[in-house]
């Protein structure tokens, strides 16, 4: 076991009995998940199990028909996504290319939007309030660029970069505003072995250095079993197993879910 980790007190993120329906489809069925700080919780399950929908429900993108999402003890169910982001919840995207026309620095400055307190119209002046704050926040952005070892891509347009680098940029964008809760939607999918290990290294460093509560959707079961403090397995919108990673992997429900999905 890794040392130096204090036992978590109150969970930073609590998902309690959340149900999400799309028409007649039960995408999430009474799902309960706790993510304490500083825990790395792995979320596994076959395609279409409802993993992305769970992240959508937490970030306010999908509206639960029942249940609660609680961040740091505050109920945020039904709040707008931008309000939930302001409570310290950040996420990465399964497909990171949406803002591909920005450079790496611009993408991260976009992620820093919440930290910029000047009124938008102060931007018309080439000096003053807006420029001072942009410079201040740019320093934080540079720290994140350093941390993710993206210096050499700093001014490159994101969509011209290798997929693995794009995923790192998306992670950086999410990290810039110093979130308390970080939701990662398949950060390693589509990456080469080497890029995957690189990504895992950064995520582990985050867990130990920044003390975040992380929920990590992952298809590489070997990887997530090694790294996660706890695993949650979803299948057809239901939690079929939760607990210590190796034990979760051994439960018959999980074994059959994956065998069923593979056949």
């Amino acid at each position: 076991m890794i040392t130096g980790i204090t036992e978590p007190s109150q969970p930073s993120l609590q998902v309690a009995d959340v149900t999400v329906k799309f028409g007649g489809l039960l995408a999430l069925d009474n799902v309960t998940v706790d993510v304490p700080t500083p825990y790395l919780v792995g979320l596994i399950g076959p395609n279409g199990a409802g993993k992305t929908t769970l992240i959508n429900a937490i970030t306010g993108v999908a509206k639960p028909s029942s249940g609660h999402v609680v961040i740091d003890g505050k109920d945020v169910t039904g709040k707008a996504p931008s309000q939930i982001a302001h409570m310290g919840v950040a996420r990465t995207f399964q497909l990171p290319q949406a803002f591909g026309h920005f450079t790496v620095v611009e993408t991260m400055m976009l992620g820093a939007h919440m930290m910029l307190k000047y009124p938008w119209f102060a931007g018309v002046l080439p000096f003053g309030w807006a420029r001072r704050e942009e410079a201040r926040v740019l320093e934080k952005v540079e720290e994140v660029i350093d941390f993710l070892e993206l210096e050499r891509y700093r001014d490159k347009v994101v969509r011209t970069l290798p997929y693995g680098v794009q995923k790192l940029v998306d992670l950086g964008r999410a990290l810039v505003p110093n979130p308390q809760v970080l939701l990662l939607d398949e950060p390693s999918t589509g990456l080469t072995r080497e890029e995957k290990e690189n990504m895992a290294r950064f995520l582990l460093r985050l867990r130990y250095e920044r003390h975040l509560a992380m929920l990590w959707i992952e298809h590489d079961l070997e990887l997530i079993t090694d790294l996660a403090d706890r695993l949650v397995a979803l299948c057809f919108g239901q939690v079929i197993a939760v607990g210590e990673p190796k034990e979760v992997m051994r439960t018959p429900e999980v074994v059959s879910a994956y065998v069923g999905a593979a056949s």
Partner: protein, 337 residues
């Protein structure tokens, strides 16, 4: 460099005659409106077919100041903020449907708004004609600056040049700070933008407000420049021309908006000049003005299909070609860095 440009701009009126100055003045006015629609449509992605309506708002502000409040108030320092505030207010109202609908429906809403504004404008003119016994088009007094009256082509040149430069600086500032990034982000993906803590509805409305306030400023200047309020000058074709400016110039680029404005304003005159020089029979000219809208539509198509980044993209490509010549690609070393 900057000083050289300043000196060059200052001596232009002493080199060119009034005809060319008047063309430049029209380009400046178009630049202001094009930079405006470039914010709403180019940056924030809300395709706006109502720019002519926003221009009209500005012209009516000019008219209202000069007619109702008194010519003494026809001062740039009053008319400009008034036109911009009125434009922003109308922009927010017109942008409201964009909070509920997307894409083509937003465009239809802006088109509908244009017809409403035009209708109200024509009604207002009718009212003026009946009560004040004004002519078909309402004559405006000259525009005052603090210590002078802007009347000669040359003084208009200096005023419009200054306003255009200020608008370029301000719009560039917005584009490179949080509003500009938020606009581009919501253009690409609204939900993902919202998840980053950005209030998408708020920034959509701001994009409409800023775009319309610049159009209104341009309309106000246009009114005083022509000494008249004439709603019939602002047709749907004008809206299409403004869209053409940013499509031809390059969406989401302020330099592109400036280039596009110059291109769209000058092309008819350029063709006229060509026809004149080669002594073409006058029928050509008549045909040309009849098919002008078609010419713009055709140019827009060409650019959309072949050079979606517009003139500014074309320029970038030419520049790269000469910078790299004789190579076709960047040397590997540089790429890796």
């Amino acid at each position: 460099m900057a000083i050289a440009a300043l000196v060059a701009a200052a001596i232009v009126p002493f080199v060119f005659d009034t005809y060319y100055l008047s063309l430049l003045n029209l380009v400046f006015i178009a630049c202001i409106g094009a930079i405006g629609i470039n914010i709403t449509t180019g940056y924030a992605g809300q395709v706006n077919l109502g720019q002519a309506g926003f221009l009209l708002v500005g012209e009516f502000v000019a008219g209202a100041i000069a007619i109702h409040i008194g010519a003494i108030w026809a001062n740039f320092w009053i008319a400009a903020p008034a036109a911009m505030i009125a434009g922003a207010a109308v922009g927010v109202i017109v942008g409201w449907p964009a909070l509920r609908v997307r894409g083509l429906y937003v465009t239809l809403a802006t088109l509908a708004a244009f017809f409403v504004i035009q209708y109200l404008g024509l009604r207002y003119i009718e009212y003026l004609q009946q009560t004040l016994k004004t002519g078909i088009d309402i004559k405006l007094s000259a525009l005052d600056l603090l210590f002078m009256t802007v009347s000669s082509e040359r003084s208009w040149y200096y005023l419009l040049l200054s306003v255009t430069v200020v608008v370029i600086v301000a719009a560039t500032g917005l584009a490179h700070t949080k509003a500009g990034r938020a606009w581009q982000a919501l253009r690409e993906h609204e939900l993902m933008t919202e998840v980053m803590g950005i209030d998408v509805a708020h920034y959509k409305l701001i994009a409409f407000a800023v775009g319309a306030s610049l159009a209104s400023l341009a309309g106000m200047l246009f009114g005083f420049y022509h000494h008249s309020v004439n709603p019939e000058a602002f047709t749907v074709e004008v809206s299409v021309q403004y869209l053409a400016m940013i499509i031809i110039g390059g969406m989401g680029s302020i330099a592109g908006a400036v280039l596009g404005a110059a291109f769209v304003v000058l092309i008819p005159y350029g063709l006229e000049w060509v026809l004149d020089t080669f002594n073409a029979p006058s029928q050509f000219l008549i045909y040309f003005s009849a098919v002008r809208l078609g010419v713009f539509a055709f140019l827009m198509l060409i650019f959309l299909l072949l050079e979606p980044e517009g003139l500014i993209g074309l320029w970038e490509r030419i520049r790269r070609f000469f910078v790299l010549w004789p190579f076709r690609f960047q040397p590997l070393e540089e790429k890796r860095r």
